[in-house]
C-alpha cells in the first residue's frame, strides 16, 4: 500500500443536512476524509453523529449538499440516478445490517447477483476463492430462509466482493449477529483487505469490531474529530468514552 497510489475514496468538505426551515438538521458539517486503496477503515461515533449519512453519501445512495466525493477517481458530483446505479453495480459492494439477500434466490445466485445484473460472467477462480474464504462451499444451493443469520451475512460479504469493487461499504454488518458469527464476518473483511487489497469502509458501534480495522475515524456531531491507526478494542473504547463525555 504505497502512499502514491490515488485514494479509493476521497471526501472533501462534505456537507449534508436534512429537512428545511426550522427543523433543519445538519448531519454532516464539513467532513473531509481519504481512504487509501486496500485499507479497511472503521467509522465510529455516538448515535446521531452522522456515520450512516456519511456512508450513504460516499456510496452514492444519497445526495449531498456541499463538498465533493471521489470514488477511484470518479467524482460523484452531478451524477444522475442511472450513472450512480451503474457505479454502485460495477464499482461498489454493500453489506447491510439486515435483510441483505433476496429470498427467491439461492446463496450462489445472491452472490453473483451484481454480476448478473451487469450481464457479466463471474470469474470462476475468484468466485471459488471468495466462497472458500466465507466458508459456504456446501451451502450454495440453499435459499436464505435455510441459512443462519451469520451464514446469510457471509453470503452478503461474498456478494460484496464478487465484482472486485473499488470499495466495500458495510453499515453495522455485525449488528444483528452474535459475537462468534460477528467475528467470522469481521475476519473475512480483514482478510480481504490484507490479502486481496480490498478497500473496506465499515460503520460500527462496537469497539471490538472496529479493532479489526486498520484505521478508525471518529465522527461527532457531523464532524470528523479523530483518526486512529492500529486500533485495539481498549483504545477505541477509551476514545468513545471521551467522545460521549464531550457530547
Amino acid at each position: 500500500m504505497t502512499t502514491t497510489s490515488p485514494p479509493a475514496v476521497r471526501a472533501t468538505d462534505l456537507h449534508k443536512s436534512y429537512g428545511k426551515g426550522d427543523t433543519v438538521v445538519a448531519a454532516l458539517r464539513g467532513v473531509s476524509i481519504e481512504v487509501p486503496t486496500g485499507q479497511m477503515t472503521a467509522v465510529m461515533g455516538p448515535s446521531g453523529s452522522g456515520k450512516s449519512t456519511l456512508m450513504h453519501c460516499l456510496a452514492g445512495l444519497d445526495t449531498f449538499d456541499g463538498g465533493g466525493i471521489d470514488i477511484g477517481g470518479t467524482s460523484l458530483r452531478g451524477l444522475g440516478d442511472k450513472q450512480l446505479t451503474a457505479l454502485r453495480r460495477d464499482r461498489l459492494g454493500f453489506i447491510f445490517q439486515q435483510y441483505n439477500l433476496l429470498p427467491t434466490l439461492t446463496a450462489e445466485e445472491n452472490i453473483t447477483l451484481p454480476l448478473a445484473i451487469a450481464g457479466k460472467k463471474p470469474d470462476a477462480a475468484w468466485m471459488a476463492q471468495v466462497i472458500e474464504a466465507v466458508g459456504l462451499s456446501d451451502r450454495l444451493q440453499h435459499r436464505p430462509a435455510e441459512l443462519s443469520g451469520g451464514q446469510q451475512q457471509r453470503v452478503a460479504c461474498a456478494r460484496a466482493l464478487i465484482s472486485r469493487p473499488d470499495v466495500v461499504f458495510a453499515d453495522e454488518p455485525t449488528g444483528n449477529l452474535d459475537s462468534r458469527s460477528g467475528a467470522e464476518v469481521l475476519r473475512f473483511l480483514q482478510h480481504s483487505s490484507q490479502e486481496y487489497g480490498q478497500t473496506v469502509v465499515m460503520v460500527t458501534h462496537d469497539p471490538v469490531a472496529a479493532s479489526y480495522a486498520e484505521r478508525v475515524v471518529f465522527l461527532a456531531d457531523g464532524l470528523l474529530v479523530d483518526d486512529m491507526t492500529e486500533p485495539t478494542a481498549e483504545k477505541v473504547l477509551d476514545r468513545m468514552k471521551k467522545l460521549d463525555g464531550l457530547v
Binding site: T85, N100, A145
Partner: protein, 837 residues
C-alpha cells in the same frame, strides 16, 4: 374496536380502493342491467297501452295446435260478422308484414338491426295511436306514409315517388305523409310503411285476412259485454279479448323476452362480481399478511381472536357497503347512458322514466356486501390465528404452507365435476354438463397452486433467458403459488368462458360449412333478409329464365305430430333431389302424393314408424289428418324433419307464400350466366337476396360472429376486473417487498430493470391465468359441442388464431397492469427502502 377498524381502513384506503373498484364495477353492471330492463319494460307497457288505447275488444286468430302455436289469420267473414253485432261502434282490421322501401335514388333502404315493417293504417277511424304527423293518410296501393324518423334520416319529402315491396314485386308509390306515435316516431328503430287496410292486405299476401280486428264499443257498452256478444258470432279459429286482456297478453310475451334479456345480462354481472370476489379475497389476505405484527401486537395486548376476526370482517363490510352503494348509483347512470347509446345507434325508444325498483337496490346490496364479506372471511380467520409471539419475531416473508391438502381437495372436486360432466355428456343433458364444468373449474382453481410452479417455470423461461430482471420476475411469480393463482384465477374464469364460447362458435361455423357442403346441392338460394315469406310469383319469374334445371320452392308451416309442435315444409318432390343432397333410405320421394309425408331417419326412429305406416298429423286449420309415410330420408338440416308435397300442403294451408327458393343451374349453363339470370328474374324483388353456397355460409358465420362479439363485450368487464386484480396484487407486493427492492437498487439494478422485473411478473401471472383458462375453456367447448350435437353442432373446431390473440391480449393486459406498480417501485427512495423496517 370500531374506531380502530375505521382508522385502519382510512390508513389503507388506497390499497382497498382497487378492491372496492372491482365490487363497484360488478355491481354497477348488475344495477345497470336491472334498471335498463325495468325501464324498457315500463316503456313497452306504456306503448302497448297507448297503441290500443281506443280498442275495447280485439279479435285474434287461434290455432288448432294450441296456445303455443302461431296464431292463424282472422278471415274477412269474422269482420263482417262483428260489424253486425249490437254495441259495436267500429271495427278495424289490422295487417302487415316485413316490407322494403326503395328510396328515390333507386336504392333499397338497407338496415342492420331494426326491420322495415308494413302496417295497415286507419285514417280517422278508431282512435289510433299511430297518427299522421305531417301530410295526409295513404289511400290505395300507390300511396304510402312513412314514419317521421326514417323520413328525416333519409330526407324524404311529401309527394316524392318511392318504391315499396311487400311479399310481391316492387311497386311505385307516392309519399302522402309522415306518421308517428304520441311518445315516439318509430318503435325501437323500425321503419314503418303505412298503407290503407285493403292495400296492406294485398301487399303482404293476405287478401281477405287480418292479423287482428280492433273494435270500439258504443257508449254504455262495457268491453266485457261486447266481448261476449262478439264471441257468440265469431267463426271457428278466432276469439275475442277485451282491449285490456290483449294488452296484457302482448305485454306478457314481451316481458318474457325482456326477462330473458335481464337474466342474460345479470348472469354476466354475476360473473364480474364473482371475479371481483377473488380480488377482494387477495386484498384482504395480503393486508392481513402484511399486518401480522400489528395483529400479533393487538393479540399480545389482549385482543381476543373474535375481536380480530370481527375487525377484519367489519372492514370488509364497510368496503362492501360503500362500493355497493356507489355501484348501484353508477348503474343508474349506466342504464341512462345505454339508452342514450341505443338512440344514437338508431334503436329509437319512446321516452320514459328511469325505473328504479327497490328490488334492484336490495339485490345490489345483498350481492355486493355478501360477496365482499364472504371473500374476506377466510383472511379474517387467518388473521385471528396470528399468535401473539409473532409480534416479537422478525417478520420475514410468510412461510408457504404445504399444498398436500389442497391437492387432495382439488383432486376430489375435479373428479366429482368430471363425473357429473361425463354423465351429462352421456345423457345429453346440457345442465349437468354446465354444472359439471363449473365444478371441474373450481377443482382446477383449487389445484392451480399445485401446478402453478411448473407452468410458471415453463412460461417464464423465455423471460428468464433474457436477463436478470426477467429471471427475478419469474422467481417472484413462483414465490407464492397461492397468491399467483388467486390473482390469476380471475382471468382464468373470464378466459375459460371466452375460450369455451369461441370454441363453440368455431365449431358451429365449421358445422354450418359441413352441413352446406354435404346437405345442400343448390347453386343458389333466394330468401329475404329475415327469412320472411314472399310471393310464389318469384318462382314463376325464375322459371321464365330457362337457366335452371331445378327451381325448388319451400314453404314452411307448423304441425303437431306425436304430440310435438314441429315444422313441416311443403315442396315439389321432383325438384328436390338435386337442390338438397337428400339420401332417401326407404320409400320414394317422387311418390309423395296428396296424402303422404316423408320424414327424417331421426324422427322415424323416435316415432317408430316406417314407410307405409299411417301418421296422424294435426294442421292449424284443417285439424288432424292421417298421412301415409311415403319415404324416410337421412337427416338433412335443410330438409328438416318432415316434408310434404305441395298438393298436401295446399290441402291444409291457405297461405301460398314461400320461405326459400333453391336453384340448380341447368347443365351447359355457366354459374355466372345462371347468376345473371337470377338477378334479371329478381329485378322487381329488391328485398330478396341471392346467395351461393359460400355466401350463405359466410352470412351464417357472420351471424355467429355477431353473437360471439356481444358475449365478448359482456365478458370484457370481468377481464378488466381481473386485470385490476393483477394491479392490486402487484401494488401490494411492491409494498411488501420494499426492502428487497431497495437492496436490488443498492446493488445496482437500474430503474428500468426494476420496472421490467415487475412487468415480467405481471405478464407471467396474466399469461398463466389466461393459459389455464383457455385450456379449461377449450375442454368446456368440447363438452358443449358434444352435447349440442343433436342441435346441429356436428363438428368440433378449435379457433387457434383467436386463442393466440386472447393470450396476446392477456399478456398485454399484464404489461398494462404492471405500469402503475412498476412506476411506484421505481420511484421508491433506495435509502428509505433499505432502512425501512
Amino acid at each position: 374496536m370500531l374506531r380502530a377498524t375505521l382508522k385502519s381502513l382510512l390508513a389503507r384506503k388506497l390499497r382497498l380502493m382497487l378492491a372496492s373498484l372491482a365490487v363497484l364495477l360488478g355491481i354497477s353492471f348488475m344495477s345497470g342491467a336491472l334498471v335498463l330492463t325495468d325501464s324498457l319494460g315500463r316503456v313497452f307497457d306504456n306503448l302497448f297501452t297507448s297503441i290500443s288505447s281506443g280498442t275495447d275488444v280485439q279479435v285474434q286468430g287461434t290455432s288448432a295446435l294450441g296456445a303455443d302455436a302461431q296464431a292463424q289469420p282472422v278471415p274477412q267473414a269474422a269482420l263482417d260478422a262483428v260489424k253486425k253485432v249490437d254495441g259495436v261502434a267500429e271495427v278495424v282490421g289490422d295487417t302487415g308484414g316485413e316490407g322494403g322501401l326503395v328510396l328515390p335514388n333507386g336504392k333499397l333502404l338497407k338496415k342492420t338491426g331494426p326491420p322495415v315493417l308494413g302496417v295497415s293504417f286507419n285514417a280517422g277511424g278508431l282512435q289510433e295511436s299511430l297518427r299522421v304527423k305531417q301530410g295526409k293518410a295513404p289511400v290505395g296501393l300507390d300511396q304510402v306514409a312513412i314514419d317521421l324518423t326514417t323520413a328525416r334520416k333519409q330526407h324524404l319529402k311529401i309527394g316524392e315517388q318511392v318504391g315499396i315491396t311487400g311479399t310481391g314485386p316492387k311497386r311505385p308509390a307516392t309519399i302522402t305523409g309522415f306518421v308517428g306515435f304520441d311518445t315516439t316516431n318509430s318503435i325501437a328503430g323500425a321503419t314503418l310503411l303505412a298503407f290503407d287496410p285493403p292495400s296492406a292486405q294485398q301487399l303482404f299476401g293476405h287478401p281477405g285476412e287480418y292479423q287482428s280486428l280492433s273494435i270500439a264499443a258504443k257508449p254504455g257498452v262495457t268491453p266485457q259485454d261486447l266481448k261476449q256478444r262478439i264471441n257468440a258470432v265469431l267463426p271457428q279459429g278466432t276469439k275475442a279479448l277485451t282491449g285490456q286482456e290483449a294488452i296484457d297478453k302482448d305485454s306478457k310475451d314481451l316481458k318474457q323476452g325482456l326477462q330473458f334479456f335481464t337474466v342474460f345480462l345479470v348472469a354476466f354481472a354475476f360473473i364480474s362480481v364473482f371475479v371481483g370476489a377473488f380480488l377482494i379475497f387477495n386484498t384482504f389476505a395480503m393486508l392481513v399478511a402484511q399486518r401480522t405484527r400489528e395483529l400479533a401486537l393487538l393479540r399480545a395486548l389482549g385482543a381476543s381472536r373474535r375481536q380480530i376476526t370481527r375487525s377484519v370482517v367489519l372492514e370488509a363490510l364497510l368496503v362492501g357497503v360503500l362500493s355497493s352503494v356507489a355501484g348501484f348509483l353508477a348503474g343508474i347512470g349506466v342504464a341512462i347512458g345505454l339508452r342514450g347509446l341505443l338512440n344514437v345507434i338508431g334503436i329509437e325508444l319512446p321516452a320514459g322514466d328511469t325505473v328504479i325498483r327497490t328490488r334492484t337496490f336490495v339485490l345490489c346490496m345483498l350481492v355486493g356486501v355478501g360477496v365482499t364479506v364472504l371473500a374476506a372471511l377466510l383472511p379474517a380467520r387467518r388473521a385471528a390465528r396470528v399468535a401473539p409471539v409473532q409480534a416479537m419475531r422478525e417478520s420475514g416473508p410468510a412461510e408457504e404452507r404445504s399444498l398436500r391438502r389442497r391437492t387432495v381437495v382439488g383432486g376430489v372436486i375435479g373428479l366429482l365435476g368430471a363425473a357429473l360432466l361425463a354423465t351429462g355428456l352421456a345423457g345429453g343433458s346440457v345442465s349437468s354438463v354446465g354444472i359439471g364444468a363449473g365444478i371441474v373449474f373450481i377443482g382446477v382453481v383449487v389445484l392451480a397452486p399445485v401446478f402453478a410452479g411448473a407452468v410458471v417455470r415453463v412460461l417464464g423461461a423465455p423471460f428468464a433467458a433474457l436477463g436478470v430482471p426477467g429471471a427475478l420476475g419469474q422467481a417472484n411469480a413462483m414465490r407464492s403459488p397461492r397468491r399467483t393463482t388467486s390473482t390469476a384465477a380471475a382471468l382464468m374464469i373470464g378466459l375459460a368462458l371466452v375460450a369455451a364460447i369461441s370454441t363453440l362458435g368455431a365449431s358451429a361455423k365449421k358445422s354450418v360449412t359441413a352441413a352446406v357442403s354435404t346437405s345442400l346441392g343448390a347453386d343458389f338460394i333466394v330468401h329475404t333478409e329475415q327469412f320472411s315469406p314472399f310471393s310464389p310469383s318469384v318462382t314463376q319469374a325464375l322459371l321464365t329464365q330457362k337457366a335452371f334445371s331445378d327451381v325448388a320452392a319451400f314453404r314452411a308451416g307448423e304441425v303437431k305430430i306425436g304430440g310435438q309442435l314441429t315444422g313441416v315444409q311443403g315442396v315439389n318432390p321432383a325438384a328436390l333431389q338435386d337442390v338438397l343432397q337428400l339420401d332417401v333410405l326407404s320409400g320414394d320421394l317422387a311418390s309423395l302424393g296428396t296424402n303422404s309425408i316423408a320424414l327424417s331417419k331421426k324422427q322415424a326412429k323416435a316415432l317408430k314408424t316406417k314407410v307405409g305406416d299411417s301418421l296422424k298429423v294435426t294442421w292449424p286449420t284443417t285439424g288432424e289428418q292421417p298421412l301415409t309415410v311415403g319415404a324416410v330420408y337421412d337427416d338433412n338440416p335443410f330438409a328438416g324433419d318432415y316434408l310434404v308435397s305441395d298438393a298436401t300442403y295446399d290441402a291444409n294451408v291457405r297461405d301460398k307464400q314461400l320461405i326459400v327458393v333453391a336453384l340448380k343451374t341447368a347443365s351447359g349453363v355457366s354459374l355466372d350466366a345462371s347468376r345473371a339470370a337470377v338477378e334479371t328474374a329478381l329485378q322487381d324483388y329488391p328485398n330478396l337476396k341471392v346467395q351461393d353456397q359460400a355466401e350463405f355460409v359466410k352470412s351464417q358465420a357472420s351471424q355467429i360472429d355477431f353473437l360471439l362479439s356481444i358475449i365478448y363485450a359482456l365478458l370484457a368487464l370481468s377481464i378488466l376486473i381481473a386485470i385490476l386484480g393483477i394491479i392490486n396484487t402487484l401494488a401490494l407486493s411492491v409494498v411488501e417487498r420494499t426492502r428487497e427492492l431497495g437492496l436490488l437498487r443498492a446493488v445496482g439494478l437500474q430503474r428500468r430493470q426494476l420496472k421490467r422485473m415487475i412487468r415480467v411478473e405481471s405478464v407471467i401471472i396474466a399469461v398463466f391465468g389466461a393459459f389455464v383458462g383457455v385450456v379449461v375453456g377449450i375442454g368446456f367447448g368440447y363438452a358443449l359441442v358434444s352435447v349440442l350435437h343433436d342441435s346441429g353442432v356436428t363438428d368440433f373446431a378449435v379457433p387457434y388464431l383467436r386463442i393466440l390473440v386472447m393470450l396476446g391480449i392477456a399478456a398485454l393486459g399484464g404489461v398494462l397492469a404492471a405500469a402503475l406498480p412498476a412506476r411506484r417501485a421505481a420511484k421508491m427512495d433506495v435509502l428509505a427502502a433499505v432502512s425501512s423496517t
